[in-house]
């Protein structure tokens, strides 16, 4: 019985060491580079983000918008893209 416990502890400890060796060996990049890429992703997609940009209040967001009666250039682009997607 005690032999079993001892070998179980050994197995668990060995597993932990192997796992840590694996994690320690992965390739990492600098936070500055990672952060820059996160920032760029946000900025590139900001104009297409409906919770940031909004939808015209006369529209129901669950239906594709029917008309572009607004002057906002970004919104017009967003609506055209959405239309193209639903037509595909």
């Amino acid at each position: 019985m005690s032999n079993n416990n001892a070998s179980n502890n050994l197995i668990t400890a060995k597993r932990a060491v192997n796992q840590l060796r694996l994690e320690a060996s992965i390739r990492r990049i600098k936070v500055s580079q990672a952060a820059a890429e996160l920032r760029n992703f946000c900025l590139q997609n900001a104009s297409k983000d409906p919770l940031l940009v909004g939808v015209p209040s006369s529209d129901n967001p669950f239906r594709p918008p029917k008309s572009c009666s607004l002057l906002n250039r970004n919104l017009i682009i967003f609506q055209l893209k959405k239309k193209a997607e639903t037509n595909q």
């Binding site: 001892a6 070998s7 502890n9 050994l10 197995i11 400890a13 060995k14 597993r15 932990a16 060491v17 192997n18 796992q19 840590l20 060796r21 694996l22 994690e23 320690a24 992965i26 990492r28 990049i29 600098k30 936070v31 500055s32 580079q33 990672a34 952060a35 820059a36 890429e37 996160l38 920032r39 992703f41 946000c42 900025l43 590139q44 997609n45 900001a46 297409k48 983000d49 409906p50 919770l51 940031l52 940009v53 909004g54 939808v55 015209p56 209040s57 529209d59 129901n60 967001p61 669950f62 239906r63 959405k82």
Partner: protein
């Protein structure tokens, strides 16, 4: 399998020492590359303007706490599950209840919509995850077609379909995650490594390959390879249970919500935490998180009944959403990013979106 690699003379004590030194090495390696903070990189970006996100629909119909919800890929249907065992499929536009099924168990903590839109999966205190095909015939008894897929030895806390209707991934109070074949109910892969209940999981966006993230009561968030079952990366910086984990839309990072009242942001390629979203006035646990389409906003639901909207890059709070009258158990942004659905212990779901005149 377990005895491989044991070398002569290795004892538990020597292995523990090696563990310690490896842990220290891991910390040093991560620190070396930590040359700047995320919010510093974001300093030059314009501050977000006021957000016009408001609740526009309230879905009433559950008789008890709503514990989970998931959007359908058609961007307007959603499925929700509650403490009294009921699972409801709604049309968020018309507020119609399209399907309803009563499970024989209480606390249905997990529910998910299949990619095809033709089935839903749910599970909870019954330790199982079952799949129900959705029939076009409203009168049909959905319970009759129920298929038991996953079997855990403790409650099922989370479930999701993978890229098709054919496989589901589950997380459980038994400390494991598992991948199942829906048709046969066969266990395809199991994921061991957490040392306490696993409370949440999220699949990586399809472009980034076969991985998923899980978080649990051991305060750890783990990244797993779905094919090999291997734990690839592990993050431990929360001070209490991790209730929810969610990938950033690009797949290069993920966020977590915890009972320690913070949400945190981890970058996978830098292999470390890169932001903490917290405020002195926010003292209640966070139970759920999700990102907006661009990843700029992080919606987090708390036990103080509010939803805090965080500016992911700058680390500041951009807005608060009020309205729920009890804990917020789940927030989910719709597949095209248009709307946010929040589920609560106040028995309702709320759908919110940003609109302008």
């Amino acid at each position: 399998m377990a005895c491989q690699g044991l070398q002569g003379g290795e004892t538990v004590a020597s292995l523990k020492r090696e563990s310690e030194s490896l842990r220290k090495k891991l910390e040093e390696e991560r620190k070396k590359l930590s040359d700047i903070e995320l919010n510093q990189v974001a300093e030059k970006i314009e501050v977000l303007g006021p957000l016009s996100i408001k609740t526009r629909r309230v879905l009433k119909g559950h008789g008890n706490k709503v514990l989970c919800m998931d959007w359908c890929k058609d961007k307007r249907r959603l499925v929700s599950s509650s403490q009294d065992g009921k699972v409801i499929v709604w049309d968020a536009f018309t507020l119609n209840k399209e399907h309803g099924v009563a499970l024989p168990c209480t606390w249905v903590m997990a529910c998910a919509y299949a990619p095809s839109g033709c089935a839903v999966a749910c599970g909870g205190l019954d330790n199982k995850c079952s799949v129900f095909p959705l029939s076009l015939d409203k009168n049909e008894n959905l319970s009759a077609k129920k298929k038991s897929v996953a079997m855990h030895t403790n409650y099922v806390s989370g479930c999701t379909f993978t890229s098709s209707d054919m496989q589901i991934l589950t997380s459980s109070g038994d400390g494991t995650c598992a991948l199942w074949d829906v048709e046969s109910g066969q266990l395809l892969q199991s994921f061991h490594g957490h040392t306490a209940d696993v409370l949440s999981l999220d699949l990586a966006p399809s472009e980034t390959g076969n991985t998923f993230v899980s978080g649990g009561c051991d305060k750890k968030a783990n990244i797993w390879d779905m094919r090999s079952g291997q734990n690839i990366q592990s993050f431990e910086s929360h001070e209490s249970d991790i209730n929810c984990v969610k990938y950033y839309p690009s797949g290069d990072a993920f966020a977590s919500a915890s009972d320690d009242a913070t949400c945190r942001f981890y970058d996978l390629r830098a292999d470390r935490e890169v932001a903490v979203y917290q405020k002195d006035s926010v003292i209640f646990g966070a139970s759920t998180v999700d990102f907006s389409l661009s990843g700029r906003l992080l919606f987090a639901g708390y036990n103080d009944y509010t939803i805090n909207v965080w500016d992911v890059l700058k680390g500041t709070r951009a807005s608060i959403l009020f309205g729920h009258e009890n804990r917020v158990s789940r927030v989910r942004v719709s597949p095209d990013g248009t709307a946010l659905c929040s589920a609560s212990w106040d028995n309702t779901l709320r759908v919110s979106w940003a609109a302008y005149l």
